[in-house]
């Protein structure tokens, strides 16, 4: 046998052996981290875990981005409407990126009567990238999650599902932090995540005007695919005999005035609600929007503002829910 052949055999023997060891370690690590992440009760991941593991089934479920997360006080709404309520708002996440959560929730919910979708000014803008995909990485084998990733970012989907161990590239310190919290929960035998605020994340900070020098006006893009995302999701909710309600979350007047076409966004939301025959609450003209004490920045309500606004919203919801009952 030639030297070259001997060396090539060495390569095959050692290369295959090492690859086997490496793959085993990486596979085990991938499995273990995702297992523990599923047991985390921390922030967004904790909330996602509750839905993905079918641990909550409120009568009023609220979805949306950070404006919903910090602006909808689930306990206040629950108290006023006398219906179990949960705030499933996930920051930085458009409704299309929460679609897997809605799908999963609809697939098992027996109690839900109403789904509230809290909308922000960017709700109809184009989205080509998933924000913080590590949040649902542990559930990548879930068909809804898979479909959601491929819908929004097919390139990421291809890598995540067809490149071995690509999830290590997507995972970041938040993911591993959650794995650590999950490990702690498992060690402490914490059965499930108890969330007294029911998904609501109050911010107790003072108002800060976040306009860019107040001179240059921004433009809100309206994208037909984003509008279609809403239509699709509304149809799905309706198909489960659940009432969808759109809420234009109150934005500080300074924030509203920092856009050149804010009215277009409101009109588009109105058009959507009429076409889909769903209730729309537009709170942009509400008194709340002119008072600094209710906000921590131009887009987000603070804890006081959330409480005031949730009372207002609960009153509005009550009238609809009562109407439904009459029906």
């Amino acid at each position: 046998m030639t030297t070259s052949k001997i060396e090539q055999r060495k390569l095959l023997k050692n290369g295959l052996g090492f690859c086997l060891v490496l793959c085993t370690v990486l596979f085990a690590l991938e499995f273990v981290t995702s297992y523990f992440v599923k047991h985390s009760s921390d922030a967004q991941t904790g909330k996602i875990n509750l839905v993905m593991q079918h641990e909550i089934d409120p009568e009023i479920m609220m979805f949306g981005s950070s404006v919903a997360e910090v602006g909808l006080d689930a306990n206040t709404i629950e108290k006023k409407t006398q219906r179990a309520t949960y705030n499933m708002g996930i920051d930085g996440t458009k409704i299309s990126a929460s679609e897997f959560l809605i799908d999963e929730f609809l697939s098992y919910s027996k109690n839900c009567e109403t789904v509230v979708i809290g909308m922000a000014f960017f709700s109809f803008t184009k989205s080509e990238k998933l924000n913080a995909p590590e949040r649902f990485l542990a559930y990548k084998s879930n068909p809804f999650v898979k479909q959601n990733i491929f819908n929004i970012q097919p390139a990421l989907g291809n890598k995540l599902y067809y490149v071995p161990f690509y999830s290590f590239i997507v995972a970041n310190h938040t993911y591993y932090k959650n794995a650590f919290y999950g490990l702690k929960n498992v060690m402490n035998s914490k059965a499930s995540f108890t969330d007294s605020l029911k998904g609501f994340v109050p911010h107790d900070t003072e108002y800060y005007d976040t306009r860019k020098n107040g001179k240059q006006l921004d433009y809100i893009g309206i994208d037909s695919s984003a509008v279609n995302d809403y239509k699709r999701i509304i149809q799905k909710i309706k198909a489960h005999d659940i009432q969808p309600i759109l809420v234009l979350m109150p934005m500080h007047i300074n924030g509203q005035e920092s856009f050149s076409n804010f009215a277009t966004y409101r009109e588009q939301a109105k058009k959507l609600s009429q076409e889909m025959e769903v209730h729309l609450y537009d709170f942009f003209d509400h008194d709340v929007t002119t008072q600094d004490k209710y906000y921590y920045n131009n887009g987000h309500l603070n804890a006081t503002g959330a409480n005031v606004f949730s009372n207002v919203l609960a009153d509005s919801l009550n009238s609809i829910i009562k109407t439904n009952k009459t029906k």
């Binding site: 070259s4 060396e7 090492f18 060891v21 290590f168």
Partner: protein
């Protein structure tokens, strides 16, 4: 194609298998494969860039052959200048044209209407500064009759475009790399092991250290007005390590990748931050470029064999040109001039009676290392700053400690949106790097030592490295700093 990309992770094994298992019986075929793979690697950014490299290859190959047969001194010089004009012409158009025009119009705004030239809307081809210098060295060496020109266009094209070192060096000399394309290459498992270790270490430096530090450094340098003295010092110190890990990491991956194919590239870094003088720093930092400037600029200018004043002028010229090579901006020129000036000062004081003659050697050496590190870090401010105005702002406020340290640090980490441990982790990584580098200089760690270990230990080490890179690496930065040059 980036070394730290999925594309490269797929590309490399394919080329490796084709190279050692399909074309291994035919040297020409192997070299053809290298050329093809290198063009794919380079064209992955933008296929239009390929026309430049192909043109440069054809010009220098032809000039090399003509120089061999040409005895007439004048004609030989003309041929040399053809190569110089073509190669530097590329750099001039793609890299410096807009800078010269902008600078000219800034000094004399009226000239724009008189001349009528406008800046060009062009992008700088990746790695153009590297491969033009590599091909230039070939032609100059052939002109100087230090090197036999190659008759094989394939070998020459492979030398110019060799993908491991094509876009960010090491800038190889034809006399070192070209003969390796002539010689038959035999697969050796030890080369694979060596290459694999170097690639892993390079990746570690890039994605775990450099890209992690980049997050902190970038936030400060993007908006200096939001920060104060302590932030500038921390960010600049971290940048010193970021650029080192980014660039030397690239070189490590390049050297390791070349080794997989049986090639030995020159070392580009030798623990430069352990240098005890600036001169020593430049013998350890970006060695392939420093020696290029030494051989093709400094020595032709007279080097150190001329009057002292002229030596200083030569040094200054070399460093200003080197700064300009790094980028078409005044910040780089100032960076080069700073190094040149300090090196001149160092020459002036060489041989004078040392201040700490009776102090322990360890203390003296440590102080020297710290002094060199401080000087180079200070110069990095100009290298990293987005504009000269930013650089001078940072320098002016470098020692502005109006707020208490703890408050400053908290402010910095809050601004970055992360806790203090992120900053501490950055320093831990730097500490780890220095520990490894120190062990390498003391020959406590080396590829050879690792390779000699039992398979269980080796595999555990490799696996740990891979896991460490995957767990702690930052995969958001999609560029190497030196690509822009």
């Amino acid at each position: 194609m980036l070394f730290n990309s999925l594309d490269f992770a797929i590309f490399l094994p394919i080329v490796f298998i084709l190279y050692w298992f399909v074309t291994n019986r035919n040297l020409t075929l192997q070299n053809v494969l290298i050329v093809a793979a290198s063009y794919v690697f380079y064209g992955w950014w933008d296929w239009r860039f390929l026309s430049l490299i192909v043109f440069s290859t054809l010009v220098d190959y032809s000039v090399g052959l003509k120089l061999k047969d040409e005895a007439n001194k004048f004609k030989r010089k003309v041929l040399l200048w053809v190569s110089i004009i073509v190669n530097l012409g590329f750099l001039g158009v793609f890299k410096y044209y807009n800078f010269f025009l902008d600078s000219l119009y800034e000094v004399a705004p009226g000239l724009q209407t008189v001349l009528g030239f406008n800046t060009l809307d062009i992008i700088l081809p990746v790695g153009v500064s590297f491969y033009t210098f590599q091909t230039l060295s070939y032609t100059i060496d052939v002109y100087r009759k230090k090197l036999e020109p190659t008759k094989s266009l394939i070998d020459f094209a492979a030398f110019v475009a060799f993908f491991p070192q094509l876009v960010a060096g090491p800038i190889e000399r034809a006399s070192h790399l070209l003969p390796q394309f002539y010689a038959p290459r035999q697969f050796k498992f030890i080369n694979l092991q060596f290459g694999f270790i170097r690639i892993l270490w390079g990746l570690f430096k890039k994605v775990v250290i450099a890209d992690r530090l980049a997050i902190l450094v970038d936030s400060v340098y993007q908006s200096p007005a939001d920060f104060g003295g302590i932030h500038f010092i921390i960010a600049s110190v971290l940048f010193a390590f970021q650029i080192y890990c980014d660039f030397s990491g690239y070189s490590d991956i390049a050297i390791g990748t070349a080794r997989l194919f049986g090639f030995k590239l020159m070392e580009n870094f030798r623990s430069p931050y352990f240098s005890k003088s600036l001169g020593e720093f430049w013998r350890r930092w970006h060695i392939s470029l420093s020696t290029w400037f030494r051989d093709y600029v400094y020595i032709p200018l007279g080097g150190s064999k001329v009057a002292t004043k002229r030596v200083y002028l030569n040094l200054m010229i070399v460093f200003v040109v080197s700064g300009f090579w790094h980028g078409a901006a005044w910040t780089f020129i100032i960076w080069g001039a700073l190094h040149g000036s300090i090196l001149i000062l160092e020459h002036l004081f060489t041989g004078r009676k040392a201040l700490f003659n009776n102090a322990p050697a360890l203390l003296v050496n440590t102080l020297k290392v710290l002094a060199v590190f401080s000087v180079t870090t200070f110069a990095w401010i100009f290298f990293r700053a987005n504009t000269t105005a930013d650089a001078f702002y940072i320098v002016q406020h470098l020692f502005d400690f109006s707020e208490p340290l703890a408050q400053n640090l908290r402010g910095m980490t809050l601004y970055l949106g992360g806790p203090l441990w992120k900053l501490l982790a950055s320093f831990l990584l730097v500490g780890l790097l220095l520990l490894v580098e120190y062990s390498v200089t003391k020959e406590k760690i080396s590829e050879q030592i690792i390779i000699k270990q039992k398979p269980l230990i080796r595999w555990s080490l490799y696996t740990s490295m891979v896991v460490f890179i995957l767990l702690f690496g930052s995969f958001e930065v999609d560029q190497f700093i030196y690509f822009q040059f």
